[in-house]
């Protein structure tokens, strides 16, 4: 809409006609207080805090419902307005307890702030306060009725925002009360969004309440470690006996790709880091065949000696490496570099949850064709093929719902299952389980209403669920590339599945999906093998057949996920880096206790290719990051660490290659690149940024915008940047893809150790059971 100019407190402001006054003022730095107004939700106009004086209008107007027009004049602060706000607060405090020092919200309460700013020291109301006992609605949500100021934010967030509609408002006038859908408890997605938006201490979180004060915590913005959406999460950290502990997870920094949103896993599922089952010390199998605690030196020497011995005697092909889909990009890159240059093997793979190699192949050479989460949240039309975002990708589901609600986006759902997002869909096409193959042809034919509607869209984002096999990914991408304005996304599970694929945890593909047979820039890897290695299942079979002498497994539990017989690893020397004694770790010969994503720094790439900075938040005595473990392992094997992690002031080989020519010695490519990019060499071998520099130098699509990345913003990586063609390979058949199908309350290995998520799952299960019996 056209811009209009109006005056607020004597300042000329410009905004699009129809903008809400409260929003226009906030953008201009004029704060108008409001309890019931919440950006993105429907207007309530219930609290009367945002009243302003508009010229030539008799009564005070609510800024949250006034839309700006040309020539209007407003005053937002005056004696009269302060008096009106004071009266509002006096009303609200009529029954609100005045016990801020014991209230869980004390220190971050909007009523407290406003009372401080406008409130009266005394009240005209002499009525006795009506006390009600606090109620527990679920393991996550507690309700303290007298504190509620009836702003309806929770009701709207739950209904409009989450499409759950589990909260309502009952009765009338002074007896009005927020009510849960099951009478005395909640049957919902347990996302905790209601707690997040509550301006006071009426809704409190089961995992945080009464544990600390907001000002006693340090707040660290990092990335959630659960699903592939990569929500930005703010962890509240407090000192503890063995480091520092996470007391709360929320999204007070609303600038992330998730905006206001965080699901149950992000908000409550951080407690796995404090699990008593957490490994705190390395374990080494002793002569009696039992795992016993060991020093880091002993464990590292044992593992390094064995790896070195096998490599030197049997060759690298006798060693296998299995990577993780929840470690950082730097760790994944380092792991494959370690495998390929130190161990001398291409036997490296990870538990694939979506076929990113097929996706990269389909998009090779195309630029600007992948959609990030921000693109999806603003897209006018989205074709969702497979997947159940509400359960598996809660942020994507939120982004789609919000897009429909605020931008009138059109969602087309093609799925073999019935999914909740059909409620927002403009059209739904039910497929058979193997119907994804033919979808592109169906769309092209335009013979049904669904394909006609999709074909009529001028621009489209195609979101491919994890159950789309490689062939379907290729046919749908090919279909979309024929049309203008089509972008794509492929949904992988776990926090860094995409990163694991991008960083080349493949037996035949280097980082950036570059084939090992034609390594391009990676030719600088010393000792790089040209032949493809073994896939994850092949490695496990080889181990069972005594053809694999050592297996290094980082942050993965293949014994549990593949349901393999435990004795098949009997004759293989197994090294595991993990947080817990998983089924695989229990069979290992050396186990290193690893730090979780919340205890280290680096970057992760979400399923949509948005790269974000991971910041170290919590700290735990005894564990080390996978990055540090790998560097120490290489060091213990006698490797020049500089060749693995380019660090130190003097560069990796002190040769900048300018004087003696190519024949005299290989130029220090890292130092040359750093100089060209105006970057300093990193000083520590444990600095993940040293590897990030190498990733930026070598991996296509990862020349990231550092300024934004370090500032905590999401930056895009580009899949299509891979030069040339990613070859079709027998190592990429769809049987290798195993989507995690996590629900709102499960999260692979990590979820098993989160008692908060277990409690929520139990609550929902029992809840559903009793409802069904009625």
């Amino acid at each position: 809409m056209a811009d209009v100019t109006f005056t607020v407190d004597g300042k000329k402001l410009t905004a699009a006609a129809g903008t809400l006054l409260i929003e226009a003022c906030r953008k201009a730095g004029i704060e108008i207080p409001a309890f019931c107004y919440y950006p993105g939700l429907s207007l309530q106009a219930a609290c009367r805090m945002c009243v302003v004086r508009q010229e030539k209008v008799g009564k005070l107007q609510t800024a949250c419902t006034t839309t700006v027009a040309e020539g209007q004049v407003f005053i937002t602060e005056s004696e009269e307005i302060a008096q009106a706000r004071k009266a509002t607060i006096q009303m609200l405090l009529g029954n609100h307890p005045l016990d801020c020092p014991v209230c869980d919200a004390g220190g971050e309460c909007e009523v407290q702030d406003m009372t401080f700013k406008y409130g009266a020291g005394e009240s005209l109301y002499a009525e006795a306060k009506q006390h009600r006992e606090e109620q527990q609605w679920s393991p996550a949500v507690y309700f303290d009725r007298p504190r509620c100021i009836l702003c309806y934010r929770c009701v709207r967030m739950c209904g409009e925002g989450m499409d759950v509609w589990a909260l309502g408002i009952q009765n009338r006038g002074v007896t009005s009360v927020i009510a849960p859908n099951e009478g005395d408890h909640l049957d919902c997605e347990q996302c905790g969004m209601c707690i997040d938006v509550c301006p006071v201490g009426a809704l409190t979180s089961g995992s945080y309440r009464y544990k600390t004060r907001p000002w006693e915590m340090t707040h660290v913005s990092t990335v959630c470690t659960h699903c592939g959406d990569g929500c930005k999460v703010t962890l509240g950290i407090r000192q503890s006996n063995d480091g520092s502990e996470i007391v709360r997870a929320d999204n007070r920094d609303k600038g992330g790709i998730n905006g206001d949103f965080l699901c149950a896993k992000g908000r409550f599922g951080f407690d796995f880091v404090e699990s008593p089952d957490r490994l705190n010390t390395p374990l080494v199998r002793n002569t009696q065949g039992k795992l016993e605690p060991a020093t880091w030196e002993h464990a590292l020497t044992t593992a390094a000696n064995k790896l070195k011995e096998i490599r030197d005697n049997r060759g690298g092909s006798a060693i296998g490496v299995i990577g993780s889909n929840r470690t950082t990009n730097e760790e994944n890159y380092l792991l494959q570099k370690f495998a390929r240059t130190v161990l001398g093997t291409n036997n490296i793979d990870h538990q694939r949850t979506a076929d990113y190699a097929a996706f990269a192949r389909a998009l090779a050479g195309q630029s600007g064709k992948t959609a990030g989460l921000r693109d999806i949240g603003a897209a006018p039309a989205i074709l969702l093929v497979g997947g159940d975002p509400t359960q598996e990708h809660p942020l994507l589901a939120w982004a789609l719902r919000t897009d429909v609600r605020l931008n009138r986006a059109r969602i087309y759902v093609a799925n073999a299952r019935n999914i909740k997002l059909e409620r927002q869909a403009k059209a739904v096409l039910h497929l058979t389980a193997d119907g994804y193959h033919n979808l592109a042809a169906t769309l092209d034919a335009g013979s049904n209403d669904f394909s006609k509607a999709v074909l009529a869209e001028e621009s489209l984002v195609v979101v491919l669920g994890p159950e789309c096999p490689g062939t379907a990914i290729e046919s749908l991408v090919a279909w979309g590339l024929k049309r203008a304005n089509v972008k794509f996304a492929l949904l992988g599970d776990h926090t860094n599945s995409r990163g694991a694929a991008d960083m080349g945890l493949f037996p035949d593909l280097l980082p950036g999906y570059i084939p090992v047979s034609t390594p391009a820039a990676f030719a600088e890897y010393p000792g790089l093998q040209a032949g493809a290695g073994k896939t994850l299942p092949e490695m496990l079979i080889a181990a069972g057949a005594n053809q694999l002498d050592a297996l290094l497994i980082v942050g993965a539990d293949p014994v549990a996920t593949t349901r393999m017989a435990s004795e098949s690893l009997k004759n293989t020397f197994v090294i595991v880096q993990d947080l817990f004694l998983t089924e695989t770790a229990a069979l290992a010969d050396v186990v290193f206790p690893a730090a979780s994503l919340y205890e280290k720094s680096g970057t992760v790439t979400n399923a949509f290719g948005d790269v974000q900075l991971v910041k170290k938040a919590a700290d735990r005595a005894g564990v080390k990051s996978d990055f540090e473990i790998l560097v120490r392992l290489a060091n213990a094997m006698g490797i020049e660490v500089k060749s693995l992690v380019p660090f130190s002031k003097r560069g990796t080989s002190a040769d900048l290659g300018q004087t003696r020519g190519a024949q005299a010695g290989e130029a220090d490519r890292s130092a040359v690149w750093l100089t060209a990019n105006n970057l300093e060499p990193r000083l520590s071998p444990f600095d993940p940024l040293a590897i990030l520099d190498e990733i930026a130098r070598l991996v296509p699509g990862y020349e990231l915008d550092r300024m934004n990345l370090y500032a905590g913003n999401d930056v895009r990586t580009e899949l299509g940047a891979t030069p040339g063609f990613v070859p079709v390979s027998a190592l990429h058949n769809s049987s290798l893809i195993a989507p995690a199908h996590d629900t709102l309350f499960t999260s692979g290995t990590l979820g098993q150790y989160s008692s908060a998520l277990h409690e929520l799952e139990e609550h929902q299960k029992n809840d559903v059971a009793t409802t069904a019996a009625d």
């Binding site: 509609w165 589990a166 309502g168 009952q170 009765n171 009338r172 009510a179 849960p180 859908n181």
Partner: protein, 175 residues
């Protein structure tokens, strides 16, 4: 009630037809919510959980949403009232003409207070806001009957009239 209550409507065929027609009447289904609740209450006597579930199902909204609306209105009730629900107006006209004395007499005679139900289930008593009969104050409403220009001494007669009506209705239904 039929053992197979899940497939059977809890409403009489006549009411069910009326509710079906109501849902069709408005551009948005949920607009029919309040009249549906009123008619259902007239037949069942109060808004039981089953009524709320059935209405929610007919409109396609959650039971919580039905409760959100229903709890707003004092004329919708969630517990059974007596066979005859006596509603005594105590708004200004009635009050000036002695409604409180009338209301007290009802309480004394019946031995129940506001929203109370007699132990035999015949009467319930409510103090209500204006029932629109100010010209003939003080007025009461017994179910849908209006009785006006009353004084406390008219109470025993009113009660005995309805008590005998309840008795004969009870006999008729047992015959």
């Amino acid at each position: 009630m039929s053992p197979n209550s899940e497939t059977m409507s809890i409403f009489s065929p006549r009411l069910a037809a009326r509710l079906d027609a109501l849902v069709q009447k408005y551009p948005v289904k949920r607009s029919a919510l309040i009249p549906m609740l009123l008619y259902a209450q007239d037949e069942i006597g109060y808004l039981s959980d089953a009524v709320i579930a059935a209405v929610a199902d007919r409109i396609g909204i959650t039971e919580l949403e039905v409760r959100n609306v229903a709890t707003y209105y004092s004329m919708l009730r969630f517990k059974p009232a007596g066979k005859f629900n006596i509603q005594v107006c105590t708004n200004i006209s009635c009050m000036l003409r002695g409604a409180y004395d009338l209301y007290e007499r009802f309480q004394d005679e019946l031995g129940i207070g506001h929203k109370g139900v007699t132990s035999d289930g015949v009467f319930s008593l409510e103090e209500v806001e204006c029932i629109g009969a100010c010209c003939w104050a003080p007025a009461i409403q017994v179910n849908y009957d209006f009785l006006d220009e009353l004084n406390p001494d008219s109470v025993p007669e009113i009660l005995s009239k309805y008590r005998s009506a309840a008795k004969s209705a009870g006999e008729a239904s047992h015959a």
